[in-house]
C-alpha cells in the first residue's frame, strides 16, 4: 500500500503493553507445579508405587485423597506423577518446537527453488500435511508399539505427533517473511544468505511456533495421559495421571469418585497453568 492510514498503528502499540499485576498472577500456578515436580517425591506421605492400605478407602485423615482399587495412596501418586507428566511435556515441547522451527525454516526457504533441493523441500512440506491426516493418538499408539512404553519413547512418539503442526506454522511465516523488504536491504548491506537466515528470518518467523508452544505442552500432557488411559502409556505402578484415571474410571461409575477425580483435576490444572504461562509470554491468545 502506498499510503498509511490516518490512524497511527495503535493496535501494535496496545499489544506490546502488558498489565504486570494480572500477568504475574498467571505465573503462580505454573511455579507451584514446577516446585511439586521437583520436590513432590520427597513430600509425599506414602510410597507412590506400593500398596499401602486397604483398597477403595474414601478420602480421610490418613489418606487425604483416599486409596485406589489396588490400595495405593491417591494423594501420593497424584503428586508424584507431576514429575513424569511435566517432564514428558517439557521435553516434547522443546523438541517439537525446536525441530519444528528448523524444519519449517529449511522447507520455507527452499520450497520455491528449482532442482532437487526445491523438490525435496516441497516433498517434506506435503509429508507434513500427510502426517496431520493421522490423529495424534493413533501415531502415539503405533510408536509406543514400536519402542515400548518409557519416558524417552513417549517423548519421541509425542514429538513426532506434535512437530508437523509447529513446522507448518513456521513455514507459513517464513513464506511471508521471505518477501519482506528488509531481507533485500540486508543483502544489499552485504549479508550472506546464511547470516540472513540466522539473523533475520529465524527471529522473525519462529514466533508462531513459540506462541503455540504452550498448546503443544498441553497437548503432550493430555496425550500422555490419554495413552496411559488406554493402557499403553507408562506401565503401572509408575505414577502417571492418565493411567490413574483409567484405573479409577470403573470406580467412578460405581460411586468411588476419588481415585479418578484427583488426577483428572491435577491434569486440568496443569494444562490451565501452562496456557496461562503461554498467555503471559505471548499475548492475548
Amino acid at each position: 500500500m502506498a499510503l498509511a492510514l490516518d490512524t497511527p498503528d495503535r493496535d501494535t502499540r496496545r499489544r506490546r503493553t502488558r498489565r504486570p499485576g494480572i500477568a504475574s498472577v498467571t505465573l503462580v500456578p505454573a511455579a507451584i507445579l514446577v516446585l511439586l515436580a521437583v520436590l513432590g517425591p520427597v513430600l509425599v506421605p506414602f510410597s507412590p508405587i506400593d500398596v499401602v492400605d486397604r483398597p477403595d478407602l474414601p478420602p480421610g485423615g490418613a489418606h487425604w485423597f483416599g486409596t485406589d482399587s489396588a490400595g495405593m495412596d491417591v494423594f501420593s501418586r497424584t503428586i508424584a506423577a507431576t514429575r513424569n507428566n511435566l517432564l514428558i511435556g517439557l521435553i516434547t515441547t522443546v523438541l517439537a518446537t525446536s525441530l519444528g522451527i528448523l524444519i519449517g525454516l529449511v522447507v520455507g526457504m527452499n520450497e520455491s527453488r528449482r532442482g532437487p533441493v526445491g523438490t525435496l523441500a516441497r516433498g517434506v512440506s506435503r509429508a507434513l500435511d500427510l502426517v496431520q491426516a493421522v490423529p495424534a493418538i493413533i501415531i502415539g499408539l503405533v510408536l509406543i508399539a514400536f519402542f515400548g512404553a518409557s519416558i524417552p519413547s513417549l517423548t519421541v512418539a509425542l514429538t513426532v505427533c506434535l512437530l508437523p503442526n509447529q513446522a507448518r506454522l513456521v513455514r507459513a511465516e517464513v513464506l511471508r517473511v521471505r518477501g519482506e523488504a528488509y531481507l533485500d536491504a540486508a543483502r544489499v548491506s552485504g549479508d550472506s544468505e546464511l547470516v540472513l537466515i540466522a539473523k533475520h528470518v529465524l527471529p522473525n518467523s519462529s514466533w508462531p511456533a513459540l506462541e503455540n508452544a504452550s498448546l503443544v505442552f498441553g497437548s503432550a500432557i493430555v496425550l500422555t495421559a490419554g495413552l496411559g488411559f488406554l493402557g499403553v502409556g507408562l506401565h503401572p505402578p509408575t505414577p502417571e495421571w492418565g493411567s490413574m484415571i483409567a484405573i479409577g474410571a470403573p470406580g467412578a461409575a460405581s460411586g468411588r469418585w476419588w481415585s479418578a477425580l484427583f488426577p483428572a483435576v491435577a491434569l486440568a490444572l496443569t494444562v490451565f497453568a501452562v496456557s496461562g504461562v503461554g498467555r503471559r509470554l505471548f499475548g492475548d491468545d
Binding site: M1, L3, D6, T7, R10, R14
Partner: protein
C-alpha cells in the same frame, strides 16, 4: 479561530441549517492510549449541501480519515466521539446504535483507497453488485442483472458478462477500482465519501477515475466528500477544500483559488511543497519550515 465552518463566512451561522445534507459541528474524536487519551480530531465543523463537492486534505495523522469515517460510522469501537451536532439528512447520527458490526447510514456511500481489500474476495463482482441493487430496488432477477451490467458500463467496463462472473482478484487494479465505484453508487447514495480513492493508482488512471467519479455523483445529484493527501487532485476535482492539520481545520476555501486565499502557513507550505512538472528544473524544492528528524 482554530476551527472554522466550511461555509463562506457570510453564511456561517451557529444555528442549524435546514437545507444542509450533512451537518457536523464540534466533532472531537479521542482514543485511549497507555500514555493518556490521544485526540485525533479536535472540534471539526463540516457542512455539505446536496451536490457539494468537498475535499478534506491533510497529511498522515491530520485526522482527516478519522473525521470522515466518524460520519460514515466506521470508527474503531474504542474511539470516543463527541459532537455538538452530527446529522445527515435530518437524522441525528449521534443517536446511532453502537453495534459490533455497524449498520449503514442510509444514503451514505463510501469508496475506499484499496479496492483489493474492499471488495469481498470470495464473491463474484456480479453477486456483490446484484446484492446491493436487489436490496435497494424492487426488481426481478433479470432486471437486477441488467441493472448491474448497466452500472458496469457506466464505469467504463464493457465486457460486462466476464466482469460480473469474475472475482475481484481476477481483475486488474484499475478495473477493481471501477467496480468499487459502481457498487458504491448502485445504491444511489446522496453522499459519497471517498477515502483516498485513487492514491494507490498511477497518475493517468487516477485522473481518469476521479473524472468518472465526479461525473457519476453529479449525475445522481449526490454530494462528494473526498479525503486525500493530494492537493493537486483536490484542486482539479472539487469545489471546496478543507485543510486539516493535527486534528483541526486550519484552512478552507474554494479549491481552485485556495493557493491564493490560504491564510494558514501550513496550507501555503503544503501547496508550495508539492513537486510539479513546472518546477522540474528548479535547483531545490521548497520545503516546510518544520523539518522532520531535527530534534526540537
Amino acid at each position: 479561530m482554530t476551527t472554522s465552518a466550511l461555509e463562506e463566512s457570510t453564511q456561517a451561522t451557529p444555528t442549524p441549517q435546514p437545507d444542509a445534507l450533512l451537518e457536523v459541528r464540534g466533532l472531537t474524536i479521542t482514543y485511549p492510549t497507555p500514555t493518556g487519551p490521544f485526540t485525533a480530531v479536535d472540534g471539526v465543523d463540516l457542512v455539505l449541501r446536496p451536490g457539494d463537492k468537498v475535499a478534506v486534505v491533510g497529511e498522515s495523522g491530520s485526522g482527516k480519515t478519522n473525521a470522515c469515517m466518524a460520519v460514515a460510522g466506521f470508527l474503531a469501537p474504542e474511539a470516543q466521539v463527541s459532537a455538538e451536532a452530527m446529522a445527515f439528512a435530518g437524522a441525528d447520527l449521534r443517536a446511532r446504535r453502537a453495534l459490533a458490526i455497524p449498520e449503514r447510514i442510509t444514503g451514505v456511500g463510501v469508496v475506499f483507497q484499496d479496492a483489493m481489500t474492499s471488495l469481498d474476495p470470495v464473491w463474484t463482482v456480479g453477486q456483490q453488485l446484484c446484492a446491493v441493487i436487489r436490496h435497494n430496488e424492487k426488481l426481478s432477477r433479470k432486471e437486477v442483472r441488467a441493472r448491474a451490467a448497466d452500472w458496469l458500463r457506466r464505469v467504463g467496463l464493457h465486457d460486462t458478462e466476464r466482469v460480473l462472473a469474475a472475482r475481484p482478484y481476477e481483475l486488474s487494479g484499475g478495473m477493481r477500482q471501477r467496480v468499487m465505484i459502481a457498487i458504491a453508487l448502485s445504491a444511489r447514495p446522496r453522499l459519497l465519501i471517498a477515502d483516498e480513492p485513487t492514491s494507490a493508482l498511477d497518475a493517468t488512471l487516477s485522473r481518469e477515475l476521479m473524472q468518472l467519479m465526479v461525473e457519476l455523483t453529479e449525475e445522481l445529484g449526490a454530494a462528494l466528500l473526498m479525503v486525500s493527501h493530494d492537493m493537486a487532485l483536490c484542486q482539479a476535482f472539487t469545489d471546496r477544500t478543507v485543510v486539516m492539520y493535527q486534528g483541526r481545520v486550519v484552512d478552507q476555501g474554494p479549491s481552485r483559488t485556495l493557493a491564493d486565499t490560504a491564510t494558514h502557513a501550513y496550507t501555503r507550505g503544503l501547496i508550495a511543497c508539492v513537486p510539479r512538472l513546472e518546477n522540474a528544473d528548479w535547483k531545490r524544492l521548497p520545503t516546510m519550515a518544520r523539518v522532520e528528524g531535527v530534534p526540537a
